[in-house]
Symmetry: C2
Subunit: 335 residues, 2 copies
DNA sequence: CTTGGTTGTGCATACGTATGCATTATTTGT
DNA sequence: ACAAATAATGCATACGTATGCACAACCAAG
């Protein structure tokens, strides 16, 4: 039924190995033979079996990306990653971090992919160790795990947290709240550390009743704001650990009839496309995802190429972006 | 280096075939043997080679989804599709529709995937024909191509276009503009046809100078509005062929200092998550993507199972969603 | 005319699992 | 106690490509 390289070989009057070599551009095959084989292959509508090739070459030219599909950020990452990989002739397979561990492990360690990009591991995940043990090339993206020997590409989240705090302080805010990310992720911790660090440095006290931890999602922002604003001494500004949380917060503020930033200033982190939309104009911290992905793919490529050495950590600089949501309070509510 | 089923066999004192059967739960293997083999396999940290299995079984348990990564809608589709496939123990590989044809074809027809979901084909794409010729199970999602024999799952775009028009008419609009999608897609055409059809039925003339065709993206909306509103007789309402276009239009209106819907009413199509956000409150037409994906996966599963028959077309009903952007004009500008 | 080098092809086998069929051990029926 | 049925396992091979090595043909140099 299906046409194989043997069929092509027979029709072209050569051996199967010659067909394989001719079609793959092996220089040891005569020009005339290459032409004939190519003609016959086209004639028979022959397409090499990817499955057989994968087994024979011990490579699939496929990369798995482990992501959290509930976090809208992944769409941005995947879109860019896809092109980066395509340039190097790699395919992309998606693996959701929320699946059962067993399943995830078999997907990344069963030889079905040449490498793995991890963008969703929490600090205590067993995945990095597994990948190392099995010798599967892997890179951590947007996260890192201490003690692992894997390469990591991250943004300078600590500096970004500090930059966000600085923006709010400059706008005159002193009573500042924070909607932070999960403490189980390096991203969450670093952004928090940078933010707290700068406030402390500036001698501004952070009221812990105005600090909430939660997931990196819309609902965290949306559900936290009402409680915060109904307190006795509500904040005049809110640091959100990423843009999604910030968008949730802004929407909640809108529902409560609060003006942003007049009644409540908001600042995010990531600089999603939406943040730049006129109707949003979210002040945030720009993360160079393109650069991060580029490094990640480069590092992964080196590992796949056989490079073995200590795990490297590439930290990408971030840039504060002043838009319209971090401005001063105009209610006199501030200290 | 890598541990194979032969290694496990030797260590357990059985043959390779017994290992294979034991680990896959073949009932013809004795309980005691299964136990011993499983123990040894765990001991040796054995993981079956996916590549070898793929070749041997002529199946990869992998589905390719061909999408347009520039359209934010794909993120929503993929997220849901992933879970649907996971339930049936299938993996997901992404294929960008914007890549070069050669590459796309080899990805879907090289035997690397068990089936294909096409969500980005234009009406003249050669992909459906290719897949049929090679006998690769495939389903069209959110699009259809006339004359193809593939199964298709779509929304009732025609009815949706009509519903949108009806909402605008009920709010009193008579001078209506439209930002339509590409005429090369069934989605674009059907939504347009439904919209035009209902206006004609209601005896309302559509001024062709207020109609613009473009891509299903943010910029289409954002760039079209200024030109439309600067004309001699600007529209009081705008039908956008999808929510992304509508969001672009709303942002543009915001930049021009126009109130929505007071100065310009806007209506979208798809009902993305964002449309329901309080700050957006976009009136739109709900498309049941979950249901569509469910049918698509079901149909595809049947095809993979060997079912062969005429191409089926499943049309899913849509629901108008009245939010805050389609209301009446309050400037007296209307006819 | 011989030797050594080059070029182009074929042979044989590896990749690691799944599975049809034959084989042996065990149980059941009479 | 013997034939027949059943249960458990091993043997051999298929899946379709890539590739190391041997080989044949041809050519140039001595």
């Amino acid at each position: 039924m299906k046409v194989t390289s043997f069929d092509v070989a027979k029709a072209a009057g050569v051996s199967q190995s010659t067909v394989s070599r001719a079609l793959r551009g092996d220089p040891s095959i005569g020009a005339e033979t290459v032409r004939r084989v190519a003609a016959v292959a086209a004639e028979l509508d022959y397409v090499p079996s990817e499955r057989a090739r994968d087994l024979s070459t011990r490579s699939t030219r496929r990369i798995a990306m482990v992501v959290d599909l509930d976090n809208p950020l992944w769409a941005l990452l995947v879109r860019r990653l896809y092109d980066q990989l395509a340039e190097r002739d790699y395919r992309l397979t998606l693996v959701a971090g929320h699946g059962d561990t067993q399943n995830i492990e078999s997907q990344v360690a069963g030889g079905g992919v040449d490498g793995v990009i991890l963008s969703t591991v929490s600090l205590d995940s067993s995945l990095p160790a597994l990948l190392r043990r099995r010798g599967v090339p892997a890179v951590l993206l947007h996260r890192y795990v201490e003690g692992t020997e894997l390469d990591s590409c991250v943004a300078d989240n600590r500096a970004g947290g500090a930059a966000a705090a600085r923006m709010l302080l400059r706008a005159g805010h002193r009573r500042i709240g924070a909607l932070l990310g999960p403490a189980t992720t390096s991203t969450g911790r670093d952004r928090e550390a940078g933010f707290r660090g700068l406030l402390a440095e500036a001698g501004v006290e952070l009221d812990e009743t105005l600090v909430r931890y939660g997931r990196f999602d819309f609902d965290h922002g949306r559900e936290s704001v009402p409680a915060l604003m109904e307190g006795a001494a509500p904040p005049t500004a809110l640091f959100c650990a990423n843009d999604i949380i910030a968008l949730g917060a802004m929407n909640s503020a809108h529902e409560l009839g609060l003006r942003v930033p007049g009644d409540l200033a908001v600042i995010g982190f990531d600089d999603l496309e939406q943040a730049a939309w006129p109707t949003v104009a979210l002040s945030t911290v720009h993360v160079p995802f393109d650069d991060m992905l580029h490094s990640a793919v480069t590092l992964l490529g080196e590992r796949i190429g056989g490079w073995s050495g200590a795990g490297r950590l590439v930290i990408h600089p971030v840039t504060p972006v002043e838009r319209g949501t971090h401005g001063p309070n105009d209610t006199g509510r501030s200290v």
